[in-house]
């Protein structure tokens, strides 16, 4: 336990376990399970909503992709951390390409990013990568119930890779790869609040 004491009280810790598993337990009792779901989870699933959600995750994937590109270009990473950035960066590029190709003309324009000093050292890189990867997982999870089955099928192929990235970078940074029994489901607004706080999105 002590090895992970530095894990800075993720907002999801404990809460996710309680919310998620209590909700599961409540299914039989017929509790108001839908009240627990994020905003939007109750809206009608369909092509228009899929496009909106895919554009949202396209932005997140583009942000991650740009972050790893810059980290590699800047050249401050060595050894296992550099390998991580190289391999994971390739995955994020593949996700961006897939989402862009899927959205076609419906793809929204991606803003420019500024990572400041986040790629300037091993420690800052790892801290930022953990935040981006964890947030990516929570973002996909939060949209799962709003997607049509076909879009969910595609998103599910990506989200577990994001979770693998999150666990990987956490292990490299000496933090617990998996803190809770369930991962959080964040709404688009919650995710964007987290991302905007970083100041990475320029325009």
């Amino acid at each position: 336990m002590s090895e992970f004491a530095q894990d800075p009280g993720e907002e999801t810790r404990g809460n996710a376990l309680r919310r998620g598993l209590v909700a599961l337990g409540g299914v039989l009792g017929g509790s108001a399970l839908l009240g627990w779901l994020p905003e939007g989870a109750r809206s009608a699933r369909g092509a228009a909503q899929d496009v909106r959600i895919l554009n949202f995750v396209h932005l997140l994937e583009s942000l991650e992709d740009a972050f790893y590109r810059e980290a590699l270009k800047r050249g401050k990473l060595r050894g296992d951390m550099r390998d991580f950035a190289r391999i994971v960066g390739r995955h994020e590029s593949a996700h961006v390409a897939f989402l862009k190709g899927t959205l076609g003309k419906k793809a929204r324009k991606i803003p420019s990013f500024d990572f400041g000093d986040a790629t300037g050292s091993r420690h800052r890189f790892a801290t930022t990568a953990i935040m981006l990867e964890d947030t990516g997982v929570y973002a996909y999870n939060g949209q799962a119930t709003s997607l049509t089955p076909g879009a969910l099928r595609a998103a599910a192929r990506i989200v577990s890779v994001e979770a693998r990235h999150a666990a990987w970078i956490r292990a490299l940074a000496g933090r617990s790869p998996a803190v809770d029994a369930t991962d959080a489901l964040l709404t688009e607004a919650q995710v964007m609040k987290r991302i905007r706080k970083t100041g990475f999105i320029k325009s």
């Binding site: 090895e3 376990l17 998620g20 598993l21 909700a23 599961l24 337990g25 409540g26 299914v27 039989l28 399970l33 839908l34 627990w36 779901l37 989870a41 109750r42 092509a47 899929d50 391999i87 994971v88 390739r90 995955h91 593949a94 996700h95 190709g101 899927t102 959205l103 076609g104 996909y140 999870n141 799962a144 119930t145 089955p149 076909g150 879009a151 099928r153 595609a154 599910a156 192929r157 990506i158 989200v159 577990s160 890779v161 994001e162 979770a163 693998r164 990235h165 999150a166 666990a167 990987w168 292990a171 617990s176 790869p177 998996a178 809770d180 029994a181 369930t182 991962d183 959080a184 489901l185």
Partner: protein
């Protein structure tokens, strides 16, 4: 969805297919009386709505439970035998506690519709670090692939939310065990789902499932056999 190039899925067809499989499994006794006695669970929500817990949802929940039970038994045995050290030991303890939490939650949700826990025999893989990690990698990757294939078929949105939030945790576990085993935690940019029949075939091929559940009904005293 027509303007999107996402993989098309025939949801109704998939559910029919899954129901057929469940019917087969039930005949084989693996899922017991799940479908038949699911009245309480199935009464929740009108059929055809996102609140409805379908027969297929119950079958998927029991299927997930069977995989969680397998993992839970594996880690619990590793912890109990105390042959692991250092990071592997710590991972076994932490991941084990999570898998037990998943089992408890699924059992609570399913109530009397839950399948019974079979007996396991891990044949010594929990006593050696390399064999433990190799098996853990296989179990976790398998669980990720299993949840992934089923998620789009879950009707009840609450169950779906729980399933996806467990799916990504299993992926974290898979990456963690791969890291400790010394292989790439994320090998490909896209993970693939694996269908239930294939997963069950793989699980059977391990021979870790040693037999049917121990009888819970009170047994008569052993007969004197002289």
């Amino acid at each position: 969805m027509t303007e999107l190039t996402l993989e098309e899925i025939d949801v109704d067809g998939a559910i029919r297919e899954a129901e057929d499989r469940v019917a087969q499994l039930t005949r084989r006794g693996l899922l017991g009386a799940v479908v038949a006695s699911g009245a309480g669970l199935l009464a929740l929500g009108r059929p055809g709505t996102a609140r409805a817990v379908t027969k297929n949802d119950v079958a998927i929940l029991n299927y997930a439970l069977s995989l969680e039970e397998l993992q839970s038994a594996f880690y619990t045995e590793a912890e109990r035998l105390r042959k692991l050290e250092g990071k592997a030991r710590q991972a076994a303890r932490r991941v084990g506690s999570v898998e037990r939490a998943h089992v408890a939650a699924f059992r609570k949700a399913l109530g009397r519709n839950a399948i019974r826990r079979p007996r396991y025999n891990f044949g010594g893989v929990t006593e050696d670090e390399r064999r433990f990690l190799k098996t853990a990698v296989a179990f976790e990757d398998l669980a990720v692939a299993a949840y992934k294939a089923q998620a789009p078929r879950i009707n009840n949105r609450g169950l779906l939310a729980v399933a996806v939030s467990i799916h990504s945790v299993e992926a974290r576990h898979a990456a963690w065990m791969r890291y400790l085993f010394g292989i790439r935690p994320a090998a490909e940019p896209f993970d693939s789902g694996i269908e239930m029949s294939e997963i069950l075939r793989i699980v059977r091929s391990t021979r870790f499932i040693a037999g049917p559940p121990a009888r819970t009904t009170r047994r008569s005293r052993p007969r004197f056999t002289g």
